[in-house]
Amino acid sequence: MTSQTEELHDVRLHVNGTVHEVRVPARRLLSDALRHDLGLTGTHVGCEHGVCGACTILVDGSPMRACLMFAVSAVDAEITTVEGLTESDGSAQGRLSPVQQGFSDCHGLQCGFCTPGFLTTITAGLRDNPDPTEEEAREMIAGNLCRCTGYQNIVKSVLRAAEIERERGESA
C-alpha cells in the first residue's frame, strides 16, 4: 500500500477466443482489466461488491462476477464476455445469439446497463437447462439486479431464448 511502485504481472487472458497480454498490478480487478486494458466495455460494473451481477462473465463456461476476480487469477481461463455471445454467420457483426435475440424480441432491456450480466448468466443457464419452466427461468435470473424492467420481460426473454434455441436447432 505504501510502496511507491507497484509490482506488475504479465498476464495472458483468453477472452472470446482471442489471447491478450496485459501487464497489471495484482490488485487489478478482472472487470477493470477487461474494460480498461482490453477495451471490452460491454461488461458493466454496477456495484463492485458482487451483488448486482452486471459484470457477470463466463469463466470456463460458468457465470462469475468479474468484479470479484483479479485479472491475475484469470490466467489460463477461457473467458466469454457479452461481446463474445454473437454467433458467426458470415456478417461482420455476427448474428444475435438466441439469448440476445430473445431479449430483443421481448423488450427484455431498457437502459441496457444490467443487460450484459443477464445475457451471460442466461447463456450458461440455458446450457444447463435448455427447456426451463417459467419458475426455472425466474430462478435462473434471481441473482441479477435490474432497475428498469421489473423483470417481467426478462423472464419472457429467457423462455423466448429457449424457444429460439430449439428453432435454430431444428433448422440447422
Partner: protein
C-alpha cells in the same frame, strides 16, 4: 392521426448495440486514450463537522498522482456555492454546498478533496492518505430532530426550516369544523432513492487546438450541465459541448446538476491538459448523490354521510437533506398532486421543508407524488372504514367527472402554472380496474382462503400525474440527399427507447421508412436548446416538437416537389420517402428533393451534380429565395401552456403469513391512461419497471440512518432492491386512452406512473388483510409482526406505543 407506426409495438433500434455490448456509457469512453486520467473524491466521514485542517502532504509524492485539490485551490465562480437551480419565493433559506467543502461538512459523503491520478486505484490510494482534522458537531438526523431544532444544520437557519409554503382553495378549516364527520391521520413515508444501475459519471477533454471543452456526463440534462460548466469555469457557452452518451438509468437523480464532479472533472481537464474521468462507485452513489421520499403528514378531513370531502387540511414536513439545490419541487408536487382524481370542496395544504445532516433530496421517479397519493388514498380508505362503505364507492363519490374537464383546482403547480387537469375518465378507469383485479369477487376469495387458514387483503389506489411540464423542447429534422432523415432533440435518454419512439413519429409524420430515421438526443452540438428528461415529459415535449419539426420539413418538401413535378401541393403524398402525385406515376424521392433544396456551386457526386447552379433554379431569381433557406430541414419547438395530466389506478391482492408476517403479492393490476400510446411495448415496460420500484419502496427499500447520520445500508448487500423473486409474477395492465387536448399527438407522460400508487396500494391491502391501520411505509415483515403485537387484544399500553423499528 391515421398512421401505421404510431401506436404499434415497434421493436427498439437501440437494442442492437446494447445486446452486443456496444453501448457507450460514460465510463466506456476514452478507454483507449493513454492520456486519460482518473479521479477520486475524499468524502466526509462525518454527518456534521467543521474542517479545521486538511493535510495533503502524504499524497504529493505518491507516484501516479497528478493533482490534489481542496476548496482552497478553487478560484472565482468555482469557489462559490453550487447553484440553487430552482429558486422559489417560499424558499427563504435556500443553501447549496460548495464543489469542495469549505470549512464545514453537512452530510456523510460531502466532497472535501479531489484527486487526479493515472488510474482510479492510485487516486483512491491518494484519497486514503489525505488527513483531515475535524471538529465534530452534533448532527440533525430525521424529521423529528429537524423540527425540534435543538440543534441546527446551518448556523444561519435557526429552526432548520428552509421553506414554509401554504396553498388554499376555499376555507378548509371552517369546512372541517362544520362537517358531520371528521378524521385525523398521521402518515409517514421514509427515505428511498432512485438507485440506477449506473451511477454518476463525467468525462471531459479540453482541446487546446480549438480551445474547446467537450464534456460527457451521465445526466438527464445536457443543456443544464453545459450552462453550469460554462458559468462556473468562466467559458463562453460556445466553447463548451456537452454530450450525454448511453445512460444506465436515471429515475430522477441525474436531473440534479451540476454535481461537484461535473465541474471538477472539466476544470481538471482544462488545467492539466489531459482528459479526465470520474466514475462514481456504488457506495458513493448511496452517500453522495441524492435521496427522496421522507415526509411526515398530519391530515384533518371533514366529510358528509356519502364520504364526500367537504374539507381537507394537510400539513406536512419534508426532509430535504443538507442542501436545497433543486428547490421545492418535491414538496410542491406532493401538495398539489395529493388531490389525485378527487375534488375536495375546500383544500388547504402547508408544508415545512427541513434541513437534516443527510444526503440531499432531489426528485426520484414520482417526485413527491407517491407521498401525496399515500396521504390521499389512506384518507379515502379511512373514510370508507369510518362510514362502513366500499372503498371504491367513496372514491367514486369524490371523482372529478368526465364532463368537468378542463378541471381547475385553484392551486399553482410545480411549473408555476395553474393546476388544471386537461382530460381523463376516472369512473371508466375504476370500472376497468375493478374488473381487472376482481374487486367484486374478492370477498368470496377471502373466504375461500380463510377456510385454508390463509390471510389475504386487497387494496386500490388512484393517482393523477402532471406530466410534460415546460418550458419547452425543440427538434431539428434534416432530410439528407440520400433520403435518410437525421433528427436531433436536446433532451436525454436513459432507457426510454427514444430512438425508437421518436423515429416512429417521424416516419409517420414525414412519410418515410422507419429504418431511415436516426434520432440523436442529449447532444448540445446538435440541439443547444433543451430542458431535460424528467417529469414524464420526453414523449410529450420532444415527441410533439419532433412532430412539429417533421411537419415543417414535410411542408418544404411538398413545396419543392410540387414545383419539380409541376403539380399542386394538395395533390401530393409522401410514402416510403417518395413524393408522388396522387393517382399518377409522377414521383420524386425525398433525397432528390433534398438535392433540389440546396443549390450548389460544387459537384462532388452524381446527386450533387444535379444541384449545381447551372442545373437548378430560375436564372431570373436568387438561387435561394429571400424567405427561404437552403437544405431540406425543419425545426420547431413545442412549448405548452401547461402540463398534461395522466392518471391511473392500481390494485393489489396480498397474502400475509399468519406466523411470519411475510407479505406475498398474489395479484397486481394496473389501469393506466397516458392518452395516445406511441409504442405500447415501451409504455408497458415503463409500467413494469415503475411497479417493481414501487414494490421496493413499499416493502423493502429504506435509508437506514443511525443517530449520528451514518447511512448503515449503503450497499446492495444491505439496501434491499427487488430481484425477480420480489416482484409480482405478472402485472395485469389495461389502458384507457383519453387524449390530451394540449399537444398535437394527444399524448401524456408515462415514465413515472408505475411507482406513484405503490406505498398507498400496499398499505391498503395489508390493512385489509390485517384489520388494523397501516400509517407508515415502507413496511417489513418484522414491522408488521410488531404491529400485530401492538394491536393484539392483550397488548400492553407500552407495546402499543412502541415505535416501529427503523432497521432493515
Amino acid at each position: 392521426m391515421t398512421t401505421k407506426l404510431f401506436g404499434t409495438k415497434v421493436a427498439r433500434v437501440e437494442d442492437q448495440r446494447f445486446l452486443r455490448g456496444q453501448g457507450r456509457y460514460v465510463d466506456d469512453l476514452l478507454t483507449d486514450d493513454p492520456r486519460l486520467l482518473h479521479s477520486a473524491v475524499l468524502r466526509s466521514p462525518h454527518a456534521h463537522a467543521r474542517i479545521l485542517d486538511i493535510d495533503v502532504s502524504d499524497v504529493l509524492d505518491l507516484e501516479g498522482v497528478v493533482a490534489v485539490w481542496t476548496w482552497d485551490d478553487l478560484t472565482g465562480p468555482m469557489a462559490e456555492p453550487l447553484p440553487l437551480l430552482i429558486p422559489h419565493p417560499a424558499l427563504t433559506h435556500g443553501r447549496t454546498q460548495y464543489a469542495l467543502a469549505r470549512d464545514e461538512v453537512n452530510y456523510v459523503g460531502e466532497a472535501i478533496a479531489f484527486v487526479v491520478a493515472v488510474d482510479r486505484y492510485v487516486a483512491e490510494d491518494a484519497v486514503s492518505r489525505i488527513r483531515v482534522d475535524y471538529e465534530y458537531l452534533e448532527p440533525v438526523v430525521g424529521i423529528p430532530a429537524a423540527r425540534a431544532a435543538q440543534r441546527t444544520v446551518h448556523d444561519d437557519v435557526p429552526d432548520n426550516v428552509g421553506a414554509r409554503m401554504t396553498q388554499e382553495n376555499g376555507d378548509a378549516r371552517a369546512a372541517i369544523a362544520d362537517a358531520p364527520h371528521t378524521i385525523t391521520l398521521e402518515l409517514d413515508i421514509e427515505r428511498s432513492a432512485c438507485t440506477p444501475m449506473e451511477g454518476r459519471g463525467t468525462v471531459a477533454r479540453w482541446d487546446p487546438d480549438t480551445s474547446r471543452l467537450t464534456v460527457w456526463s451521465s445526466t438527464q440534462t445536457s443543456t443544464g450541465v453545459r450552462g453550469c460548466v460554462a458559468a462556473k469555469l468562466g467559458l463562453d457557452l460556445a466553447k463548451v459541448d456537452v454530450i450525454t452518451p448511453d445512460v444506465g438509468g436515471g429515475f430522477g437523480v441525474k436531473i440534479n446538476h451540476p454535481w461537484p464532479e461535473e465541474l471538477l472533472v472539466p476544470l481538471a481537464a482544462m488545467t492539466l491538459g489531459r482528459p479526465v474521468k470520474f466514475t462514481e462507485d456504488r457506495r458513493e452513489h448511496f452517500i453522495s448523490s441524492a435521496h427522496e421520499r421522507a415526509q411526515q403528514h398530519h391530515v384533518e378531513v371533514g366529510f358528509d354521510d356519502d364520504g364526500r370531502l367537504l374539507g381537507l387540511n394537510v400539513e406536512f414536513w419534508h426532509d430535504h437533506g443538507a442542501y436545497t439545490p433543486y428547490g421545492l419541487i418535491v414538496p410542491i408536487i406532493t401538495s398539489t398532486q395529493l388531490l389525485g382524481p378527487y375534488k375536495p370542496l375546500n383544500y388547504r395544504v402547508s408544508f415545512e421543508s427541513l434541513y437534516t445532516n443527510t444526503v440531499i433530496v432531489t426528485p426520484y421517479r414520482g417526485a413527491g407524488r407517491p407521498q401525496g397519493c399515500f396521504v390521499m388514498e389512506r384518507t379515502m380508505d379511512a373514510i370508507a372504514a369510518y362510514l362502513g362503505k366500499d372503498r371504491t364507492e367513496v372514491r367514486s363519490t369524490n371523482f372529478i367527472q368526465p364532463d368537468e374537464f378542463p378541471y381547475e383546482h385553484g392551486l399553482i403547480f410545480q411549473d408555476g402554472r395553474e393546476l388544471t387537469y386537461d382530460s381523463g375518465d376516472y369512473p371508466a378507469s375504476l370500472a376497468k380496474l375493478k374488473e381487472l383485479v376482481g374487486w367484486d369477487e374478492f370477498e368470496d376469495f377471502r373466504a375461500e382462503m380463510a377456510s385454508q387458514g390463509r390471510r389475504v387483503g386487497i387494496g386500490l389506489a388512484c393517482y393523477v400525474e402532471g406530466t410534460g411540464v415546460g418550458p419547452y423542447e425543440g427538434a431539428h429534422v434534416h432530410i439528407e440527399t440520400s433520403g435518410k432523415v437525421k433528427v436531433a432533440t436536446g433532451l436525454t435518454t436513459q432507457g426510454q427507447g427514444h430512438q425508437t419512439a421518436f423515429a416512429q413519429i417521424v416516419a409517420d409524420t414525414l412519410g418515410v421508412r422507419f429504418e431511415n430515421v436516426e434520432i440523436t438526443t442529449g447532444d448540445t452540438r446538435k440541439m443547444p436548446y433543451a430542458v431535460g428528461t424528467f417529469a414524464s415529459r420526453a414523449a410529450v415535449m420532444s415527441g410533439s416538437a419532433i412532430h412539429l419539426a417533421a411537419l415543417r420539413a414535410k411542408e418544404k418538401a411538398l413545396r419543392i416537389a410540387a414545383e419539380a413535378l409541376e403539380a399542386a401541393e394538395d395533390d401530393l403524398e409522401i410514402k416510403d420517402g417518395v413524393v408522388s402525385v396522387k393517382g399518377t406515376d409522377a414521383s420524386i424521392d425525398l433525397g432528390t428533393v433534398a438535392v433540389l433544396s440546396n443549390p450548389l456551386r460544387y459537384a462532388f457526386d452524381e446527386a450533387s451534380k444535379a444541384a449545381t447552379q447551372f442545373s437548378v433554379g430560375d436564372p431570373g431569381k436568387p438561387p435561394v429565395d429571400e424567405d427561404d433557406e437552403p437544405g431540406l430541414e425543419g425545426k420547431d419547438f413545442y412549448s405548452p401552456e401547461r402540463s398534461t395530466f395522466a392518471n391511473g389506478m392500481h390494485a393489489v391482492i396480498v397474502e400475509t403469513d399468519p406466523d411470519t408476517a411475510e407479505i406475498t403479492i398474489l395479484k397486481y393490476a394496473v389501469v393506466h391512461d397516458c392518452g395516445h400510446l406511441i409504442n405500447p411495448m415501451i409504455v408497458e415496460g415503463q409500467i413494469h419497471g415503475g411497479v417493481a420500484q414501487g414494490v421496493g419502496g413499499a416493502l423493502y427499500e429504506r435509508m437506514a440512518y443511525d443517530e449520528s447520520g451514518q447511512l448503515l445500508n449503503a450497499s446492495f448487500m444491505d439496501f434491499l432492491m427487488p430481484y425477480v423473486t420480489e416482484v409480482p409474477t405478472t402485472i395485469d395492465i389495461d389502458h384507457l386512452e383519453t387524449p390530451s387536448p394540449l399537444n398535437p399527438l394527444g399524448i401524456k407522460g408515462a415514465g413515472e406512473a408505475g411507482v406513484i400508487p405503490s406505498a398507498a396500494v400496499f398499505a391498503a391491502a395489508i390493512e385489509d388483510a390485517e384489520g388494523f391501520p397501516i400509517t407508515a411505509m415502507p413496511i417489513s415483515p418484522s414491522e408488521l409482526f410488531d404491529l400485530r403485537l401492538a394491536h393484539a387484544p392483550e397488548a400492553t399500553p407500552t407495546a402499543a406505543a412502541a415505535p416501529a423499528p427503523t432497521g432493515t
